[in-house]
Symmetry: D3
Subunit: 250 residues, 6 copies
Amino acid sequence: MRILVVNPNTTATMTATIAAAARSVAAPGTEIVVATSRMGPASIEGYYDEALSVPGLLAEIADGERSGAAAAIIACFDDTGLDAARCMASIPVVGICEAALATAGFLAQRICVVTTLERSRVPIEHLVRRYGMGDRARVRAASVPVLALEDPESGALDKLRRQIEHALDDDHAEAIVLGCAGMADLAAALSRDYGVPVVDGVAAAVKQAEALVSLRLATSKRGTYAPPLAKSYAGMMEAFAPVDATPRLA
Amino acid sequence: MRILVVNPNTTATMTATIAAAARSVAAPGTEIVVATSRMGPASIEGYYDEALSVPGLLAEIADGERSGAAAAIIACFDDTGLDAARCMASIPVVGICEAALATAGFLAQRICVVTTLERSRVPIEHLVRRYGMGDRARVRAASVPVLALEDPESGALDKLRRQIEHALDDDHAEAIVLGCAGMADLAAALSRDYGVPVVDGVAAAVKQAEALVSLRLATSKRGTYAPPLAKSYAGMMEAFAPVDATPRLA
Amino acid sequence: MRILVVNPNTTATMTATIAAAARSVAAPGTEIVVATSRMGPASIEGYYDEALSVPGLLAEIADGERSGAAAAIIACFDDTGLDAARCMASIPVVGICEAALATAGFLAQRICVVTTLERSRVPIEHLVRRYGMGDRARVRAASVPVLALEDPESGALDKLRRQIEHALDDDHAEAIVLGCAGMADLAAALSRDYGVPVVDGVAAAVKQAEALVSLRLATSKRGTYAPPLAKSYAGMMEAFAPVDATPRLA
Amino acid sequence: MRILVVNPNTTATMTATIAAAARSVAAPGTEIVVATSRMGPASIEGYYDEALSVPGLLAEIADGERSGAAAAIIACFDDTGLDAARCMASIPVVGICEAALATAGFLAQRICVVTTLERSRVPIEHLVRRYGMGDRARVRAASVPVLALEDPESGALDKLRRQIEHALDDDHAEAIVLGCAGMADLAAALSRDYGVPVVDGVAAAVKQAEALVSLRLATSKRGTYAPPLAKSYAGMMEAFAPVDATPRLA
Amino acid sequence: MRILVVNPNTTATMTATIAAAARSVAAPGTEIVVATSRMGPASIEGYYDEALSVPGLLAEIADGERSGAAAAIIACFDDTGLDAARCMASIPVVGICEAALATAGFLAQRICVVTTLERSRVPIEHLVRRYGMGDRARVRAASVPVLALEDPESGALDKLRRQIEHALDDDHAEAIVLGCAGMADLAAALSRDYGVPVVDGVAAAVKQAEALVSLRLATSKRGTYAPPLAKSYAGMMEAFAPVDATPRLA
Amino acid sequence: MRILVVNPNTTATMTATIAAAARSVAAPGTEIVVATSRMGPASIEGYYDEALSVPGLLAEIADGERSGAAAAIIACFDDTGLDAARCMASIPVVGICEAALATAGFLAQRICVVTTLERSRVPIEHLVRRYGMGDRARVRAASVPVLALEDPESGALDKLRRQIEHALDDDHAEAIVLGCAGMADLAAALSRDYGVPVVDGVAAAVKQAEALVSLRLATSKRGTYAPPLAKSYAGMMEAFAPVDATPRLA
């Protein structure tokens, strides 16, 4: 079983962190293939970056499906482009936010998502509500830019720890969700230090993708995620135009 | 006061309908400028089309702001790219779904949105909930492709009327919202025929844009809609990279 | 286009503040007519005052409609009597709370309403939820009586500023809504000082009323806002009795 | 223990039905005193009638409290003026809608309220949501004017029965709430006929009022229901002006 | 009228407190019969204890019904086993949490439940939401084990008072609900000290049980609370097997 | 990795169906151990059966944990005893309803749960809301007793199919969830026949349990699911008393 993990942030070093996290939990028969998007922002911080990362992300997923991936994972905690990818692809597509929240939901009642920047808080709160965790999960921002997570000198980890401590002490959080793909390597140590489950979305999504493939389940093509209709796509987007009922990407 | 109305569907005939609706309600001092996006699907039907229409849409809004528009309107009922546009632009940006729902909210308690295809129903239901109308507004799909609205032979109007009748009789709707920019020319006649307010989002958005400009109010740049941070944007998206704190588009 | 603004607080000096705010944003062709209710409390603070201000308010709106007003505005942030007025009147009626929240909703995700007294907090929270902003807007009370807003020596402005600062710092508010008609003159200065949109409901309502009239839209008379039925009204209320399907007020 | 039941509909024959229902369930030591409001509409049908019935209703409750009532009941299913009455009175005040819903909540999971006219449906739905029963209770209107309930020839009972049957068969209702004080005499027979609990709000409110008095509990005077502040009340409303911290009505 | 109050905590001294609270508010014609469950934990603290207390509780309610009780009360604030008891019994069954919340709802808009241990907070929050008070009631835990409430040296009362003070000052609570049957003797004194209604669920439930019996209303046997079907019950549970459509317990 | 699947229905033939479904999707390294509860009803139909099945279920999970199971699954769609089991056990515990809903949530927007009897509908609707799917998932009952699913002559499958057809045609469902462990063998055929994902909770729960174990995540022991406190347990329940902070079952 080949699972594609796409990093829609166009920063290859970040993809390495994601790949390691994915591989560390993959089942014996699972091959993890990672791809860094070739179009879009170096890091996804807020709605503008998110929107501009989608075409590059969709191209990687289409490539992956053609190359035989059994499922795809979008490794950005905003679940960027997830709905569009589900319309386009025949294989299951999993977002790391929804995977992390679903996983944490099996482990605890009160959950705190700790993310990077304040500007990402409302977008993630919208996801939390859409995934039905509005009563259980709260979002905190550590004021850490995404790429600072890669720099041990940045003080990012300390800021993250401070928010986790507030979540445990002030919000009565029972489990922590790491709100950025770039935090994927921190879950185990933080869980040990704080004595509560700390969920990384990349690892969680790998298990959900494996689960869906094992269960022989794929995205419903009835209603919301029906394949895109054949039509012309103007300008640089022509490459993305589905030319028949089975969508195809150049 | 110049107001830019962008049609993110790349179909110029549809833009003509939108322009007429916008101009018919504009205040004496308002200049309506319309733009058809040059990148993306001919019609926006579902999440895939929506995602791929965003870059082209953002380019038009950036152009418009540089050319002196005081506000921008996104003329697609999915409010495609609205959050991203609000991050990018300094001028207010209004979506036609949010404008139509807000307007209908001043007129009636129970509202029914009649849209085109079944695949657009869940995306619009998400907007309805996000805009806080989940208890008041219901969404019906007329099984009419967007571009069929331009063809009087297509039977589209009859299908639309049938859903309005169901809304009034079965859902106790007190006002109707037309759930597609391509329906902008139908509001007056339908309102007359059915004796209830029928709200077109394009016209509603023009008045909201005028209102915001008159009130000297613009998008908050604190938190969610803070300007994009300076960073590199890979591939064809480089043009969209903000190069400093004041976002700028090539 | 003549727009009637009714102050249901029976304090004429407060009406002057309201009138100035309304006129400062009215479109060139709009005539603002103001009326101070002649029955009811000097200031509306809590549910008791609100209930007793309604008959006087309705009388002014009925008068205004007979005199040719194209729309009416209720200038009390509790949206006092709004549903009753919509049943009675043929012209559109706009409340300043709903207008302010709808306007702020186009500008920011997290909103804070700053109102006068603690006793007004729950009534406004009910409106916030009813208008679908329960997830986005929070209400703070500045412990300022309504009429203290007219007295520069009262310290009211300082208390108001302190709550705005808490809203920005503690609640991550991105926009402020002024929760009392008597604050209508403060919006511009507060917005300049704090660098976020500050929305005054009186000004917002003027633009919404102009919008509805321009769009040729009026309250739906189907269902909730059907005209009152002809029946006898006992005691001093007889004056309010609708005598036929077209309601009429003495 | 004396309990005042106020009929805010100014129709004395309706008060007789209400009085009989109240007395039939009162505890041995309870004296039921009934009052028909002397100001306002003959029947309360929709928001306009509701608003105009409040001053007369408040006057009766103030009279009742002065005459030694231990609690007051508002016998209109819209819970007309309930919040205002709670601010004004020192004694507990109970609405028949909230009493009926609370009572039905002890008996069944799915509840259907059957009310009179379509125009009352949305007001009652707002109460249902405000009282936290939005997930459990549905509202149906029988197209029966309030006073038709007094006329055995009107066919009102048949229409009511038809809606109860729809509620049981189509909505899986497990209990019925009668959504008008004028239906108070029908509960026992309908319950027998349909084999499910049928709750009348007047009777339910008597038991709630007795309960609050027995428990020595009264409305909290902290926050929302703080006593009205001393201030001038203009026009015919002067009679309602509280002249000191302990509100007093002429 | 005989009302059975079951203490599902198997601690007889706690039952004495409960009995006194129940008797102090019972109507003249009401006989209060108390029972301490003979199976299950000494005190119910969290979901595990709750689950294990249910069989013993059901046995007491079945016994009580056979002995002529007209209604039953479950005297644990988790409303332990309430749904199961309603299926089994023909007589009405009332939980002290639902009774307390319904009662407080007639008295105040913002409510705070003060319970014992942190582990009980989420279970009670689930009840608060299920009973529709999610917007009005907040839950605080005083870090007091249930049985410490019986020990004047334990400092429990001080901890409880501290949470009440936080509720009033920080949460703007207008009424307090005591979140444990073992606090039943404290309501009057705390209400006097803090000047707000303090509701004890045991007393509240007695009045609700009396009310339902007076109103001749019992649990709907349609749908959710239909009597258990006849079937075999394995192991020690055989005693609980209903042997025909009218459930019967050995 | 050993995963325990407990059937809390005390019917061994039903356990066989469950075991086959679990084994058909287990990963190569997973050993599925099944247990039929030895205490409680033959089939769980409604709240009464549910409550009485919990002690037997807990005993099996405690046994399983002592025997080295790495995770436990509760194979009843009511997620019977799930919260109690999570308090008691150190290993992760998964309910089949929560697993099925989480899985379906990755595949479709509108979901329909088809369950057995009408009396199970409200309990499952409560779970749907608690798991945050209230806006996405609807529950239908096929009027099929649990054990009739084992009898091909019972017509159960036809009734089930009819509800699936209603869900697809009338509710616009995009995926189906089978709402009873006894339907575990039907998913593949129904999915093939109707062309939408059909999710069986037993299979889904196996994958979730494997995922949690692989991720080295277990139930948070902070707050809601803290281990039961040491205390005496009266009567037949003594066996369940935790005697120290690490809960232990005889």
